[in-house]
């Protein structure tokens, strides 16, 4: 589409300075973000393979590959790796690190050394988890419910230690982003001229800083109980197992929003860019991010409707839960309204944004069912919950992450991927995802409990369909891996602004120079002013 052939700059953050040590000691947010991305994608691949093995084992009620012990370890590792090593750091630490300073016209984050330290903490946390796998793995589920987790013979403590350290990595990243957003915005970029991805990262960072310490405290108490014999959660020592659940979900519910809020930010960017249209309800979307962040602290008890907490507590938590649903609904309506009178092009990032809209809506509606007290009693701890969770986390966060990767891949590497293959892979993943997980809504409603190694015969046909769906999804991901890596080396040059977008990261070269911008950029117009400015696409 461009008149003049684009070239990739000969010198950029990718190749200047050279050498492995310059990467391992770098303070450049783009390099740190990229190093995060390598590790996070490795974790995603490993936990994805575990998911395929777990699904394969469930093809029939009998034994396919492994016994019950191995199966329990596999689903625990799938969950723990996906949650703690992949999805929590995925968008903020990888894409956020690379894009946030570029988006606000800054040279780097506020504390570059702290940023590097976050990355090393991530590695140390990951090593602890690797150590626990080598020493017999863990079979508690990613939720570590007591007293099972305090009595099982598997490597609970090294896993918990890993999660504890990963928590600090997350806290430091959050702290860094809060200060960066407050202090380093380009001249002219007022709070309400910030791109919505920045707002979303800001709300996420607040959650990371305030909620993550609680899981640290919980895991320390768990260790104190196991090593020092202090009865906190284990009834055999005078503790209370429900107390653990309160602690755990006080962190892990806000953590769900640590996972989804940045994804919502990416969706806001993609829908505006590819609708070529000013975002609808900018302030509503920005405020609803903060509203979600705040409300998410008040709803943890909805994970515990049948756990033995008081009925009054359950009723209050159910009431508050519905109010965390409203802002998500408002965002969805705003995204759709943004498309009105736009000029919509269905490039790969937009395909993922549409996947997100559809899948996240289903995740939201089924969330209403689970938040409803009497209905949750039936659906709790069944495949309905498994499926709801995957619709929100994979249909939501992962689709947004993939959208973001396809949006910024040309910015990160300076080269385009094959758009035909990208569309094919997006469709394969969408079909495979629904075949895998929509069947699980049927399973759960019919009463199939989760975390079952074997099951009664009547559920077999639906399990088989779910397993077959996982294979379609896997093919989609393999194809994506191929064309994204191919693009790094052989893709055609993208130019600074392949999509004709208006936020600041598209005003510098692709890939950007180490110092991000040649001169201090100014926010002369808002990131969504498609009613006033047209930027010519460079690819």
């Amino acid at each position: 589409m461009s008149d003049t052939a684009q070239t990739v700059p000969t010198q950029s953050y990718l190749n200047h300075p050279k050498g492995l040590w310059t990467w391992l000691s770098t303070r450049d947010h783009k390099r740190i973000g990229l190093m995060y991305m390598y590790l996070i994608m490795t974790a995603f691949f490993a936990a994805g393979v575990l998911a395929l093995l777990v699904r394969f084992e469930l093809l029939t009620p009998g034994r396919e590959l492994m016994g019950a012990d191995m199966y329990n370890k596999m689903f625990t590792l799938h969950g723990a790796i996906m949650i703690f090593l992949f999805i929590i750091p995925s968008i903020p630490a990888a894409l956020g690190n690379i894009i946030l300073p570029l988006m606000i016209g800054a040279r780097d984050v506020a504390f570059p050394r702290l940023n590097l330290m976050s990355w090393y903490l991530y590695i140390i946390g990951a090593l602890f988890m690797l150590f626990s796998i080598i020493t017999g793995a863990v079979d508690t589920g990613w939720t570590f419910y007591t007293p099972y987790s305090t009595t099982t013979s598997t490597s609970v403590i090294s896993t918990a230690m890993g999660v504890f350290i990963l928590g600090f990595s997350s806290i430091f990243t959050g702290l860094n982003f809060i200060v960066t957003i407050h202090k380093l915005r380009a001249p002219g970029m007022t709070w309400f001229k910030m791109p919505l991805f920045v707002w979303a990262l800001y709300a996420t960072a607040i959650l990371q800083v305030l909620a993550t310490p609680v899981i640290g405290i919980t895991l320390v108490l768990l260790a104190a109980e196991r090593f020092a014999g202090i009865g906190i959660f284990d009834p055999a020592m005078g503790g209370d197992p429900v107390l653990f659940q309160h602690f755990f979900w006080f962190y892990s519910h806000p953590a769900v929003y640590i996972m989804i809020l940045p994804g919502m930010g990416i969706i806001s960017e993609i829908i505006s860019i590819f609708s070529h249209k000013k975002i609808f309800g900018y302030r509503a979307i920005a405020y609803s991010s903060l509203g979600i962040a705040f409300t998410s602290f008040l709803v943890w008890g909805h994970h515990m409707f049948v756990s033995g907490q008081s009925e009054l507590a359950a009723i209050i938590f159910s009431f508050l839960t519905f109010f965390v649903g409203i802002p998500s609904g408002i965002k969805t309506f705003n995204w759709i309204a943004t498309m009105y009178k736009g000029q919509i092009s269905l490039k790969a990032p937009m395909l993922y944004a549409i996947s997100f809209l559809i899948l996240f809506s289903i995740g939201g509606f089924t969330g209403i069912m689970l938040g409803t007290l009497s209905v949750d009693v039936h659906l709790h701890d069944t495949y309905f919950v498994v499926s709801h969770f995957h619709y929100v986390m994979m249909g939501g966060t992962v689709m947004a992450l993939l959208g973001g990767l396809h949006l910024w891949w040309p910015k990160i590497w300076g080269r385009m991927y094959n758009e035909t293959l990208a569309a094919i892979s997006a469709v394969l993943i969408f079909i495979g995802f629904n075949a895998t997980f929509f069947t699980q809504f049927f399973l759960g409603t019919q009463g199939m409990p989760r975390r079952y190694y074997t099951y009664v015969e009547q559920y077999q046909p639906l399990h088989a369909m779910s397993t077959h769906g996982s294979w379609v999804m896997a093919i989609g991901f393999l194809l994506m891996g191929y064309y994204l890596i191919h693009a790094i080396f052989k893709g055609k040059p993208a130019g600074p602004n392949p999509w004709g977008a208006l936020s600041l990261e598209w005003t510098t070269a692709s890939p950007p120079p180490t110092e991000n911008f040649d001169k201090q950029p100014l926010a002369e117009h808002g990131p969504y002013d498609y009613d006033q400015v047209v930027a010519k696409p460079t690819a």
Binding site: Y145, Y148, F322
Partner: protein, 314 residues
């Protein structure tokens, strides 16, 4: 016959609570379908109607509409409040036990349920109840957290080791229904499956009368065979020679087993009896000491019957 598949969604209702839960479920279900149709329909329409033709130009600057925003905030808020109140009202009923209920004590442990009746009868993994009578369950766990879930009744409650959990139901149909543990509890979690057998009043009374011993004319070995499944021995011990969580029962009587400490034991009546009452005292090499004691669960006559049964498994 396990009668569980009602519709593609909810299993066939079989308790007084089920129809109310289902009404709300389907209310949310149809609301979701309407809103989903709006979301997908609007998205599809805009994609077609406003698709990009040629190079991009400036577009409409419309970026808010107060009326629209109030409407799409207020309508969902009102709807979810209706859903909340409806759900909370039904939820409270799970915990208000009718005064004339019969009580059954439920004990959960790795990996089976025990049911104790007021008449002194007990049962493992098979909860036999009369139809059309409210049943109160007083539940506790001996080890980790378990959960009691009967899909056809729409009831579920965790079972905790440090307190009683109370839940009640009233079955409306005679039949046999799945009972699942839904709180992850380790290796045997997925085999912690029982049945709720709903009988007519008369059949229930007959069952209570017979449950304390072998039925007239039944041999001890045949009675033992029934106990083998009804007391959940089959969860961990096979009859076909395949080792499971515990050693197989095939040819167990008279077999020489090597213990974890290296000593050997010839399996006789006394060793079997001891293994039921003090199962972790002498554990066969290669197996974990995870079997719970059957002290207080099996009566002397039942132990005798199981031993006679094991002698016949060759």
């Amino acid at each position: 016959v396990i009668d569980t598949l009602g519709t593609a969604w909810m299993p066939a209702p079989a308790s007084t609570m089920a129809p109310d839960i289902d009404s709300l479920y389907y209310f949310i279900y149809w609301l979701s379908i309407i809103f989903f149709a709006i979301v997908v329909g609007a998205t599809a329409f805009f994609i077609v109607r406003y698709r990009r033709r040629g190079a991009a130009t400036t577009t409409s600057g419309v970026d808010h509409n107060l009326t629209l925003e109030i409407v799409w905030t207020a309508i969902p808020t009102i709807l979810v409040m209706i859903i909340f109140v409806w759900g909370a009202k039904d939820f409270v009923r799970f915990y208000v036990v009718p005064a004339h209920s019969m009580q059954i004590n439920v004990t959960a442990q790795k990996w089976f349920f025990t049911f104790d009746y007021p008449e002194g009868v007990n049962a493992v993994n098979e909860l036999v109840v009369p139809v059309d009578k409210p049943v109160k369950l007083l539940m506790s766990s001996k080890d980790v957290i378990h959960s009691f879930f009967v899909p056809n009744f729409r009831i579920k409650s965790d079972i905790l080791p440090n307190r009683y959990q109370i839940i009640w139901f009233e079955a409306t149909r005679v039949g046999s229904f799945n009972l699942f543990c839904t709180q992850y509890c380790g290796k045997g979690h997925s085999e912690m499956i029982g049945k709720v057998i709903v009988k007519t009043q008369q059949e229930y009374q007959d069952w209570i009368d017979q449950a304390s011993g072998p039925v007239g004319g039944e041999s001890m070995a045949d009675y033992g065979r029934k106990l083998y499944t009804s007391r959940a021995c089959n969860t961990c011990h096979s009859l076909d020679g395949a080792p499971n969580t515990g050693p197989t029962f095939k040819g167990v009587f008279g077999r020489t087993e090597t213990m974890a400490d290296g000593s050997t034991i010839v399996v006789d009546e006394n060793y079997i009896r001891e293994s039921m009452l003090e199962p972790t005292k002498k554990v066969v090499s290669g197996f974990q000491p995870v079997m719970p004691t059957y002290q207080g669960i099996l009566k002397q006559q039942q132990i005798d019957a199981l031993i006679e049964f094991l002698k016949t498994v060759q």
